[in-house]
């Protein structure tokens, strides 16, 4: 049985593909939250999204387009970030993206 590599460092640059998908996730998480606020605040936006099928299905499709589109773009650009930066982007974008949504509906209700 082998053991964990002793040469591991905390600030090593991640490979472009992993870096790119992490960055794409972080941006999409915030985009998703802002899109919720926009569609719930502007009737024309939700009507447009609903006209394309169902507003929730359209939102999911837009999220996936942004996520994979940015991931391919960043990968092609050879983007690299450190492991620490990747962790920070992942955690904070999830908290902020989720917080925007939960906060919006909580405030909206009261």
């Amino acid at each position: 049985m082998t053991t964990q590599d002793n040469n591991a460092t905390h600030d090593d640059l991640l490979d472009p593909k992993i870096s790119s998908y992490v960055l794409a996730y972080a941006i999409t998480a915030i985009f998703n939250g802002l899109l919720v606020v926009l569609k719930e605040s502007v009737e024309a936006v939700v009507n447009l999204m609903a006209a394309l099928g169902h507003h929730w299905v359209t939102q999911g499709a837009l999220d996936l387009i942004v996520f994979f589109g940015l991931a391919f773009y960043f990968t092609a650009a050879g983007k690299q970030i450190s492991g620490t930066a990747a962790v920070n982007y992942t955690i904070w974008s999830t908290i902020i993206g989720g917080g925007i949504i939960a906060g919006f509906f909580l405030i909206g209700y009261y």
Partner: protein, 155 residues
């Protein structure tokens, strides 16, 4: 009738995806050459299960949820829809994307990079925590519908 089974499939896939993400987390606590394949298999399992939860949720939500929504909003827990369902249906996209990210993160040499190991731990924890929140919100939505129906029946 299929509607009832379908409604059970959604949280079942969600729980299986969450368990697989816990598995990834545990493997990433002590990543070695000989557990990388297992970790990657668990990551792919988590992604597939969460995607299946998404597809079954979408099917139910788009075709059937409108009637449940009316019952919940007319019942004693209207906030079960207005806060919890609205938040759940949109935060779920974060769970979906985190689960999609998991196999990509674990495709790297997790046993050789401390940063990648930490990223694997946090990404799998993200899937687990957001999926737990989805399960909890789903329970509140179900209770909102039950109380709404009881209210209509005068119970």
């Amino acid at each position: 009738m299929f509607k009832n089974y379908e409604l059970l499939l959604h949280p079942t896939f969600g729980v299986l995806g969450m368990i697989a993400a816990v598995w990834v987390f545990v493997e990433a606590l002590s990543p070695r050459e000989d557990n990388l394949d297992r970790m990657r298999m668990a990551a792919k399992t988590s992604m597939v299960m969460i995607w299946l939860a998404y597809i079954t949720a979408g099917y139910f939500y788009v075709l059937y949820y409108g009637a449940d929504k009316a019952v919940i909003k007319a019942g004693p827990w209207p906030w079960a829809h207005s806060i919890f369902m609205e938040t759940k249906e949109h935060v779920f996209f974060l769970t979906l994307l985190l689960a999609t990210l998991l196999p990509i993160v674990t495709s790297g040499a997790v046993n050789k990079s401390a940063g990648l190991r930490k990223l694997t731990l946090w990404t799998s924890a993200g899937v687990v925590l957001t999926a737990l929140a989805m399960e909890g919100a789903g329970a509140i939505v179900s209770m909102g519908a039950k109380l709404g129906l009881q209210s209509q029946l005068g119970m």
